[in-house]
């Protein structure tokens, strides 16, 4: 089943074409990688999928629903979670609160029921707390649940972001350079985590990464962007041998 289908995505920023007619189809359960040199448009693509930018051309279908033009918060509500290239945590909130905020999209309690402490609010609060604790446990941050988020180490912060993204029970998870700045053992743990959450939550994962080893190991399918265009797509082996990909990375004619 197709979870995400992008067709002809084109984006421009003040005359600069950041993305040019990009097509992408992600199937359910896949771990799909997007690679490419810096400035290729990978994060822009993420931002378009999550509704932060509206493409000037192209369509976005998520689980067979048209998503173009939907504001970011509604996109989240439809089941797309994400992490950010430059970590965006709620620094002065506790670790547990960071994850609890992540659940916002799937709860229904509104201002009045929160203010008056109605049963709906109280029940949801319990569920939210429970789920947050479970997620923290899963990423190994339970002991630090009451710390301020900006007190965590870099690797811990990345894991926290993932936990927060999972709190909204996403169908599709977008990870933007999740391994950046990690050492080998942390990366190994990250790989385990990605496999684990895919199984546990029946997730489809879309991944932007620069670490080729990690990408080749974990992704079933890879798309390569360069100067806003998709220049190749296929299995890791196919991509490894693709001439266009090699020349774009090395800058030589292969």
């Amino acid at each position: 089943m197709e979870v995400l289908r992008l067709k002809g995505i084109t984006q421009e920023f003040g005359g600069l074409r950041a993305l040019d007619s990009v097509d992408l189809t992600v199937k359910s359960g896949q771990i799909f990688g997007i690679i490419g040199p810096n400035g290729a448009g990978k994060t822009t693509l993420f931002n378009i999928i999550t509704g932060i930018y509206v493409p000037v051309e192209g369509t976005i279908r998520f689980r067979d629903q048209d998503m173009k033009g939907l504001p970011a918060y509604k996109v989240a509500g439809m089941g797309i979670g994400r992490t950010f290239q430059n970590i965006r945590l709620f620094n002065k909130l506790s670790v547990i609160d960071n994850v609890r905020v992540g659940s916002h999209a799937i709860n229904r309690s509104n201002f009045f029921s929160d203010l008056l402490g109605l049963p709906l609010a109280r029940r949801e609060e319990k569920e939210v707390l429970q789920r947050a604790d479970e997620l923290l446990n899963m990423v190994g941050l339970y002991e630090k649940r009451d710390e301020y988020a900006d007190n965590l180490s870099y690797g811990e912060q990345r894991r926290l972001e993932i936990a927060r993204a999972l709190a909204l029970k996403p169908t599709l998870l977008l990870l933007d350079e999740p391994a950046a700045g990690m050492n080998t053992s942390e990366k190994a743990e990250l790989i385990d985590l990605i496999y684990h959450i895919r199984q546990e939550f029946d997730l489809t994962t879309l991944l932007v990464e620069h670490d080729m080893n990690l990408v080749m190991r974990i992704c079933e399918r890879i798309a390569v962007l360069d100067y806003g265009r998709k220049i190749a797509e296929g299995s890791p082996d196919q991509i490894k041998g693709d001439e266009a990909v090699i020349s774009s990375y090395l800058g030589v004619q292969a």
């Binding site: 950010f84 909130l93 916002h104």
Partner: protein
């Protein structure tokens, strides 16, 4: 009740306590907008004046009962808070701050020219409906509601907007909608405080609600620690009492005040109680018991 109290407390101190109560209501409203949600609002006195004038005119010229006039004033102020919130869709930070200043100035000029409001002379003769009991019952209710709100889904979402708006959106938070909500509720409290103020001082005029007033309230929020309820309360108490205590050096009071702001920002920008929230206090309290 006030008569009863004045037997035990000097009327002067009673007055200060009542003013503290009114200021706490005002400050908690601003705290919601600026401290919790991170939207710098420097025109809070505008909301206060709307509440004050509306309530005063309704009681004096239309014979409304006090509670109805208060409510009407607060609701009208909330409406304007709603209006101010709408531009937040496109504006942030400094620009939003300027809009709030502009708004408060326009309101002030409006009341300067508003016939039923007495124009520059203002309104006087409001019956002193505001009593110690009324103020402090309202204060306690407002505090409790704030505490509950801030430890809930909505409250966390507001904090999230302050911390990182883009990440908040990615978590499903309708940031614009909640910012408007924060302004609306904050303005409601501002108007409520204004109505209480008008019926305590028995005299209001446009210059009572100028830019300096907005800054005074902002300082109460900032001094104590933005986003923190105990912090805001502490800041309000200190900054309501201090001018009274410094009456001796009244002329130099503002000089101290200005200097204090600068020094505070340099040495303790997070305010006295930093980011302390009721949640943190509860946690620390329970920890102590466990040890």
């Amino acid at each position: 009740m006030d008569a009863f109290l004045t037997q035990y407390i000097d009327a002067y101190y009673l007055r200060i306590i009542i003013l503290i109560g009114i200021n706490i209501i005002l400050a908690l409203g601003l705290n919601l907008i600026t401290g919790v949600t991170g939207q710098l609002s420097m025109g809070h006195a505008g909301f206060m004046s709307i509440g004050a004038y509306t309530a005063a005119i309704l009681t004096m010229q239309y014979g409304f009962p006090f509670w109805a006039a208060l409510l009407a004033g607060a609701c009208l102020a909330a409406f304007f808070g709603f209006l101010i919130g709408i531009p937040t869709l496109r504006l942030e930070g400094d620009y939003l701050a300027m809009v709030t200043i502009g708004f408060a100035e326009i309101i002030r000029v409006f009341f300067l020219n508003f016939e039923p409001g007495g124009k520059a002379v203002g309104l006087y003769g409001m019956p002193q409906y505001t009593t110690f009991a009324i103020v402090w019952i309202i204060v306690i209710v407002v505090i409790l509601l704030n505490v509950r709100l801030l430890d809930s889904r909505t409250g966390r979402a507001l904090y999230a907007i302050r911390e990182n708006e883009i990440a908040a959106e990615a978590a499903g938070i309708n940031t614009t909608g909640l910012k408007v909500l924060a302004f609306t509720v904050g303005a409601f409290l501002g108007g409520l405080g204004g109505g209480l103020y008008a019926h305590y001082m028995s005299y209001i005029a446009p210059q009572d609600f100028g830019f300096m007033k907005s800054i005074e309230i902002l300082n109460m929020v900032v001094l104590g620690g933005m986003g923190s309820i105990p912090g805001t309360i502490l800041g309000t108490i200190i900054l309501t009492i201090a001018p009274e205590m410094l009456r001796i050096v009244a002329d130099y009071r503002l000089l101290f005040y200005g200097g204090l702001l600068v020094i505070l920002m340099i040495f303790r920008p997070n305010g006295l109680l930093g980011d302390v929230r009721i949640y943190d206090i509860k946690k620390r309290w329970f920890k102590k018991e466990g040890e």
